[in-house]
């Protein structure tokens, strides 16, 4: 454990003269030195534009970049590497599908189904697409534990529904959704399913072929990698039939002023100079996860979540928000009668980074009738001792406000 923590330079820093306790991993997690080095080494040794140059540097950079595509393919067990599209992040990946898929396959009177516990990034792109195509957005409800009510699926799924878009794990509550069940139910009617995996890839093994999902989206920066890079996985058949998202360099085959023909997958969806440096950083992050072991990560975090919930409940005067049977990564709670903003302000003074507010999931907060929650979220480098500091900070909050 000690040596794992020591790989993260930022964990040695102080905040308000206290050692940093970083429990905001669902927002973004910290980067091991090897990822930081991989990015700087790229700029020191390899920087050049890819896929074009015949010179040595360009070829090396192209090779490194394409190698990461292979790594991602293996990491999520995709069938083909050209099913891996690099994007800026989960949000852009979802927007890509919302634009390109809906342009081709959604028309007036159709429906798109999302769930009640989505992040804004898996709501707004669909609202925009529905508005554009004259379609309707439907919502799979959740119960008071923060679990999706899959029993409502038969009512909601019909041949009007052209796509289902669901989070693998809820960022606000940590609920692990029964995505396999949802995918199978949708596929029975031939409806494709997009999974927002932003909160899942760093915490649990993802196998897109076993899931049989049609699209899977995630971000590098929530999996020990850099910001500004993400992945859209899409089944070949869908990606082939969807029109391009953006036009420009790289995505073209031939350009004349009369007509342009588009490049093959995956390049069709990667217009412009790609974010090579961060792709290489992502590749190193994937190696970090493999070296650490995704099951070790999952087990470590499970212990931390359990300990955190136990300590919070023992403290008293705390309400857990979201009590699903299966939870990952996140503990969302409220200190009774204390506004999350007030609590967060005091907790911060203890050097503890937690998130307060609606976590970009306002409909979830509205459902529970609360302005927001305090959210502690975990990564493999967190410790029980850090949770003890959080509890101390909470005791101070209670002294000041209760």
């Amino acid at each position: 454990m000690h040596s794992l923590r020591s790989q993260f330079p930022i964990l040695k820093t102080s905040v308000h003269n206290k050692p940093l306790v970083y429990l905001d991993n669902a927002a973004t997690n910290q980067k091991p030195l090897r990822v930081i080095n991989a990015i700087s080494n790229y700029y020191i040794q390899q920087n050049s534009n890819i896929h074009r140059g015949v010179h040595a540097l360009s070829q090396q950079a192209t090779e490194s970049y394409e190698h990461v595509r292979e790594q991602v393919k293996t990491f999520i067990n995709a069938k083909h590497s050209h099913e891996i599209i690099f994007t800026r992040g989960t949000t852009e990946a979802i927007n890509l599908v919302a634009y390109s898929f809906c342009k081709k396959f959604v028309s007036s009177g159709d429906e798109i189904l999302i769930s009640a516990l989505e992040h804004h990034s898996n709501i707004v792109p669909w609202q925009m697409a529905c508005e554009e195509q004259g379609a309707t957005l439907k919502v799979l409800p959740m119960n008071l534990n923060g679990e999706l009510m899959t029993e409502a699926l038969p009512q909601l799924l019909s041949n009007k529904v052209k796509l289902v878009a669901i989070a693998h794990i809820s960022n606000a509550l940590g609920t692990v959704n029964p995505i396999k069940k949802i995918i199978d139910a949708a596929h029975q009617l031939g409806i494709p399913v997009l999974i927002d995996g932003a909160q899942a890839v760093a915490h649990t093994k993802v196998d897109v072929q076993a899931l049989d999902c049609d699209f899977y989206c995630f971000s590098g920066h929530k999996m020990y990698g850099p910001m500004g890079i993400g992945v859209l996985y899409g089944k070949e058949q869908w990606l082939e039939s969807m029109p391009p998202y953006q036009g420009g360099g790289e995505m073209i085959d031939e350009v004349t002023f009369k007509k342009t023909t588009y490049n093959v997958l995956p390049f069709k969806f990667e217009a412009g100079t790609p974010n090579v440096g961060d792709v290489i950083g992502l590749g190193e992050a994937l190696r970090f996860i493999s070296d650490t072991g995704i099951s070790t990560i999952a087990e470590t975090e499970e212990v931390l979540i359990k300990y955190c919930e136990e300590q919070l409940l023992a403290e008293g005067g705390i309400t857990l928000v979201g009590t699903p049977e299966k939870k990952s990564g996140v503990v969302s709670f409220l200190i009774d009668n204390v506004h999350p903003y007030d609590a967060g302000t005091i907790i911060d003074r203890f050097g503890v980074a937690v998130r307060t507010g609606h976590h970009c999931a306002q409909p979830v907060m509205d459902f529970f009738g609360i302005p927001g929650t305090i959210r502690a979220s975990f990564a493999v480098y967190n410790t029980k001792a850090e949770i003890d500091v959080l509890i101390k900070a909470i005791q101070q909050v209670k002294t000041m406000f209760c």
Binding site: Y341, D342, M400
Partner: protein, 138 residues
């Protein structure tokens, strides 16, 4: 005079060694805010860009502005109270010309940064906006 009031605040705050005392003071101050009428807690008086909800209302009487505020978070309410203490019963001109450097001196700067969801900054902006509107009307 705004200057006298801010000097007074700065000297009060200088007595606090610990950050916790400052927040305890703000919490106490929050309790002294003249309560805003329920009907003033409307959408137009809601300040955007805060993690907590803040309502700020202003009326002009005999050339001076009278502020009331409320928030669902206590620290935010305390900050509103502090600003009201400084800007209440002042003329629009005095408010528009006021020197805001006391906010830095008070050590509340972190509330000014965008990462703090702009609570303080949005409130100051709104106060100046009211002053500008009343000045334009008269």
């Amino acid at each position: 005079m705004i200057k006298e009031k801010t000097d007074q605040l700065v000297s009060e705050f200088s007595l606090f060694d610990e950050w916790m005392d400052k927040y305890t003071y703000l919490i106490e101050l929050g309790k002294t805010v003249p309560p805003i009428d329920e009907d003033k807690k409307k959408e137009e008086n809601l300040i955007k860009g805060c993690q907590s909800r803040v309502w700020l209302d202003a009326t002009l009487a005999e050339g001076k502005i009278h502020f009331t505020a409320d928030s669902d978070a206590i620290i935010t309410k305390g900050i509103a109270a502090l600003l009201i203490r400084v800007f209440n019963h002042e003329t629009p001109e005095a408010i528009l010309e006021a020197d805001l450097s006391f906010l830095d001196t008070l050590g509340l700067k972190e509330h000014l940064s965008p990462t703090r969801s702009n609570g303080l900054l949005s409130m100051v902006k709104q106060i100046k906006f009211y002053a500008m509107a009343f000045q334009a009307k008269s």
